[in-house]
């Protein structure tokens, strides 16, 4: 009996908590992806690179003497206009054509390659890492949790809630959803649809940039870091249901949890096949996604 409690306290509980923090990290990346995917119908293959962009901009800010807390606010504000310009200058040009899906996919793949090489040229291939702004750890019910991961959990949850409020409870959010649902009708009501699209894309990539700053102290910064979460984030978006806000959040948390717990019992190199097997199963059995009962299909 004591053994079981010890197992729970020292092995299972920390593992689930780790899974939760990784899940929040995945959701932060998946959220922007899901918004751009669901509202603009654009598969943003460069999403991971915007996550990296946020992290690299934060490294530049630190070297100028900016604190972590200020960078957390500044970076999304810097990434947002970049995203806006990319949408207006590039994506919108191919958006109106018949081959929209293929063209936006290829465009963003190209963009991701250019961005990754630009990071390499500007910052070099060596890994960088900002100092952990909240070192030390706290004991929660006998489980040791690093302070920074607790902070990550809190900020992650706050960001998810704030994004939900913005999209579902504000006039701006209503305009975005309306523009996504029926472009012509929304435009005839006087909504500047093209600007709404660009703004939505900018918001989505700014979320990725924000995640970049937030996760850099744990996961470090290097040119190919964009690949890290984006696969898991895509999986979460697909399993949760394409374009579903709740789906991305729930699936992100669930997948990270499955990965964390399964790695206790099976060899870790099976955890990726396991996740993708779940994705395949979901696509076969319920192609609209597990949680896609409230979003539009």
């Amino acid at each position: 009996m004591t053994e079981a409690i010890e197992y729970l306290q020292f092995v299972l509980a920390p593992q689930m908590l780790n899974g939760l923090t990784i899940g929040v990290a995945v959701v932060l990346v998946a959220l922007g992806l899901s918004i751009i995917f669901g509202l603009l119908d654009v598969v943003n293959m460069a999403h991971g690179e915007f996550y990296a962009l946020g992290a690299f901009i934060s490294m530049s800010l630190y070297s100028l003497g900016v604190s972590f807390w200020l960078a957390l606010v500044l970076v999304p504000l810097i990434v947002m206009p970049i995203g806006f310009l990319i949408e207006r200058g590039l994506i919108q040009r191919v958006y109106q054509q018949d081959q929209r899906h293929v063209l936006t996919l290829l465009l963003t793949v190209g963009l991701s390659i250019i961005m990754e090489d630009a990071f390499d040229l500007i910052y070099g291939p060596n890994t960088m890492r900002p100092e952990n702004p909240l070192p030390g750890s706290t004991e929660l019910l006998g489980v040791i949790v690093p302070n920074y991961r607790l902070f990550l959990l809190a900020v992650g949850v706050a960001t998810i809630v704030a994004t939900w409020l913005l999209i579902y409870r504000t006039r701006l959010g209503a305009m975005i959803r309306a523009a996504a649902f029926d472009k012509h009708m929304t435009a005839s009501l006087g909504v500047p649809v093209l600007r709404v699209y660009a703004g939505t894309f900018a918001f989505g990539v700014a979320l990725a940039g924000f995640a970049g700053v937030l996760l850099a102290p744990i996961y470090s910064v290097f040119p190919t870091m964009g690949h890290d979460f984006v696969l898991l984030a895509f999986t979460a978006v697909i399993v949760g249901g394409i374009g579903s806000f709740y789906g991305a959040v729930l699936a992100g948390l669930l997948l990270a949890q499955i990965q964390a717990i399964s790695s206790l019992y099976i060899s870790p190199h099976w955890s990726d096949p396991l996740l993708f097997a779940i994705m395949v199963a979901v696509l076969v059995v319920r192609p609209q996604g597990l949680f896609n009962w409230m979003g539009r299909s």
């Binding site: 092995v11 390499d120 060596n126 040791i144 690093p146």
Partner: protein, 395 residues
Amino acid sequence: MTGKLKKVGAVLSVLLPMAAAGQAAAQSNNPITIGVLTPLSGTYAPIGQQVKWGTELAVKEINAAGGILGRPIRLLYEDEEANPSVATRKAEKLFQSDKVDFLTGVVNSGATIAVGQVAERNDRLMATTVSLSDAITGARCSPNVFRVNAPGGMQALGLAAWIKQNNPKARVFAIGPDYEMGRNTVDGFVKQAKELGLSVVGQVFAPLGEKDYTPYFGQIRQARPDVLYTSTAGNDTVRLFTQLQEYGLRERLTIVGASVAVTAQNIGAIGAAAEGFVTVAGYSPDIDTPENKKFVADFRKAYNADPDLYGADSYGLIYLYKAAVEKAGTTETAKLRKTLEGFTWQTPQGPKSVRAGDHQAVMTVYVLEVRNGRFTIKEKIDGQTAIGPDTCERF
């Protein structure tokens, strides 16, 4: 003076792969081309950078002094991407369409073994200056492949002996990346540790490029180790060490590992978590010889960074190639191979020699410990003691 500058200028432009095509025709002597197939992007890009720098510095010096047999060296780069299937495709391209005379730079051990087969098919020689897997000069050795760096087995022997000497009752846990190199180095280390009577309490393999190691901390905690052995490299080590520190596990563990784990490239990003890390490697910038001091100074002047073992081994390889080609009088594969077998040459690390039986370089290795962000030499192990038996049966 201007003549000399012009000469240096011509040599430099030959070095630039982009300019190479145009410049090659201008050279009176047809250049010797060496393919450098090394990771220029991804997790191992920082290693590839040292390989590139070390190779480039040696080539610059040799070309400035008149080349090999009067022929300048031309380098052709390809991105290995630490991926065997990419590496074989690009090696095939370098051999077939670029007609390189020699190939170097491959980092990923799986890629080195695979590219070795490509070299055999094309009847060309290649060398690795980084790959650790013992199989490269052991079970899967190739008559066309040479290795000039210290392999995993050499390091495992030194490390296990060091642990035994400092903490004979240590509980040891091993972690490695889940591919040829990681499996081979961890197996090699575990075998050595067991032979010396250390208790090995567990081992785990994480995918190459793992982002979060915390899911493995459950297993590590359960095993209650005193010593952690790791053969992760590049960014993977940064994450492993800093996450261990985040979770308060770092200070409870003595971390030892393969020479790839902590290097000049990632030590800055690891920061304080790297303190006390112990490894066995064939090079340290602190080696106190005039040759090494000159090498370190030249390297710093050219790249504004210290050389590490990859830079040094890659630099030394080009001088091996030069010396052997000059002795053989040709770049022709069969004759050059014969010359290389048993060949002794000078490097900033001291003399090295190629063992004829398995094409592994015999070299002095050092027990190194990170102190104040620098590798300091703790012990020196003679090459003949560290190298272990020749297990290659193919030639």
